[in-house]
Symmetry: C2
Subunit: 349 residues, 2 copies
DNA sequence: GTTAGCACTCATCAAGTTTGAGTGCTAATC
DNA sequence: GATTAGCACTCAAACTTGATGAGTGCTAAC
């Protein structure tokens, strides 16, 4: 059933007011502050209908109305106007973002910062998944007789490394052979393929060297690959929630911070989201703990291939229009910055 | 002036009680729960003296006494008994810490975790400063015609890298020469020396190559060096403060979290602390913002040279004895683990 | 269909009251 | 002279009470 023009107008006014004030909205306030041309009593009747239809709720009998998740969903889908950023805002954002960029990690981190500053919410930014990246070469650099550094370099220029310890002294010559063997076996494989593929025996390597490969190098190799595959998650504006009336209760603030601090869980949640601009409201979120939050994410791309995400998390009462615009502007900027030369030679500092 | 035996006993009891309950301690409670053998009235007289001497304070006229910073200082210096960890505690800590260690970063991070779990405070762990580490080799790995990865390897096995973009296409041969020149110039220099030393002209490099060194590589080189020098700070148990009555006020909790979130400032504060087990109470802390916190840090060493720190931050009311024991046990463990082979081939994942 | 009017509800706030844990002082006791 | 019992006093915290006001639903008039 479609809502009448008037009901839509009233609902929109309630949502706007509630997003601004965080207070339940009453019929009198509505008729006074919004140019609806009808009396409070009529508004009450309409609100009663809207409540029956599930768009509004009532904290208690004699309080104003609060938009439900269903209302926010309707608002986001149909009623939200495109919010244009001012020229100053755009310039300021671009300036902060592009100042002396050399690395994606850096820029992405700054995006989270800018986003949290503008929206006054908790922002996050995720570096791209490297699924399609392939191994280019593998090196073993001697440190002392028993220790070396295993170094992997990918086609896109990502470098990652870990220490390897050997049971016995190993010569530089042996290290070179081992590295050569590994490069021969893994070159051109994607990172995820390399994770599953076993080290193949090679004519040049003897039994002893093979043992080292299996027992000493393999664990570090796997960990390094996982490091390269893993996305990094930057968060900013965690303490912004203290300014929101929704979290002016210690328990709620605590729960929020504890949830967000579990970075691994949160990263998984993010990875599973679709690409593009995605808004999930309250219980639409998979994660039980996010059931009274809204999450907005958008995707940026590096070289048109690898995809990363940035976004915000906050109460269901948020400025969906403004936040969405800012996020979109940020992702556009990042995508542009890393389009031409494919400068994704990021490291993990 | 020295305190009488009895005053010391009373003060100790007050401190013990206050650390446990966080409530001002009254004379009746004291005489009931502690075997002091004197009546509340006598205790009141003694407490009055102790207050005059600056060891106790009075939140308001008719409330119990609270230990002052001076009292905590006295307690820590003279009255605190050595708290022995139980065998189970030790085993549990050692197990969590040493499970499958390959890297210092990893172990240090886990130390912060264990520490925050046991103490229910906010714990932190700082990786060692690399001042004494020297450069071993410098490499430039081609990514595409305009991009390379600059890689530095130090004597201790630390590897760090950053992307370099060139104004024009650069051949692999050129990269090799550039890397060779840099290695020649910087090998054996400590990281901090390398930061200040300029690139010296070399017979093998022509003017064009020199220009690239200056304009394209230098910025990345400096950043990479700074990355290698920089300590990493891991924090854990941030939300533990929500369980403390000291922070059951939103503003206080917020201030604490905002302070601790400024990692750079906090790192500087930590670096400036002396080595060994250091306890600073309230206003003894340099940082204004820490004026109602106590901080305990201890130092671990890697190979007897590089020094890192771990510690906790919490209200001045904390279990100084227990916390100190745990921190000491942790630093001992880390130092032991990284003593023999000097396996500090950490990276920055 | 719309609106004015009215009785009712309920969170919030301020003012007053009670309670109890604490103190300091004084006079009696050891 | 040191210790203690007794008592008047203080003050935060918890509870009570009543007023206020923003809100509702319902009904009857427009």
């Amino acid at each position: 059933m479609d809502l009448s023009e008037r009901k839509l107008k009233i609902l929109q006014a309630i949502i706007a007011d509630f997003i601004r004030t965080a207070e339940p909205v009453g019929s009198r306030t509505l008729s006074k502050n919004y140019d609806l041309g009808i009396s409070p009593a009529t508004i009450r009747n309409e609100m009663s209908d809207l409540e029956e239809l599930g768009y509004l709720t009532h904290p208690h009998t004699s309080s104003g109305r609060v938009p439900s998740e269903k209302a926010y969903r309707l608002y986001v889908n149909q009623m939200m106007n495109k919010h244009e950023l001012t020229m100053e805002q755009k310039c300021s954002i671009a300036a902060q973002l592009n100042d002396n960029v050399t690395e994606l990690e850096n820029m992405v981190q700054r995006a989270a910062h800018v986003l949290s500053e503008i929206t006054n919410l908790t922002a996050f930014a995720m570096t791209p998944r490297k699924d399609l990246d392939t191994l280019k070469y593998i090196n073993l650099l001697p440190v002392d007789d028993y220790t070396a550094v295993l170094m992997l370099v990918s086609e896109s220029g990502k470098v990652s490394n870990k220490a390897v310890r050997f049971d016995k002294a190993v010569s530089e010559e042996t290290l070179r052979i081992l590295a050569k063997t590994m490069t021969y076996n893994y070159r051109g494989k994607t990172l995820s393929e390399a994770l599953t593929q076993d080290i193949i025996e090679d004519v040049q390597t003897d039994a002893e060297a093979m043992g080292m490969l299996e027992n000493n190098i393999k664990p570090s190799f796997v960990k390094t690959l996982e490091d390269m595959l893993n996305v990094n998650l930057y968060m900013d504006g965690l303490t912004n929630i203290f300014s929101l009336p929704e979290y002016n209760d210690l328990d709620k603030a605590r729960m929020f911070l504890e949830m967000v601090n579990k970075k691994e869980d949160f990263t998984k949640t993010l990875i599973n989201r679709e690409n593009g601009v995605i808004i999930t409201i309250g219980n639409e979120n998979q994660d039980e703990l996010l059931s009274d939050c809204s999450v907005i994410t958008a995707t940026y791309h590096v070289n048109g291939k690898q995809l990363g995400k940035i976004g915000v998390i906050g109460p269901t009462r948020m400025q969906y229009d403004e936040v969405t615009s800012v996020i979109e502007y940020l992702t556009d900027n990042i995508s542009k910055a890393f389009m031409i030369t494919g400068g994704d030679g990021d490291d993990e500092s």
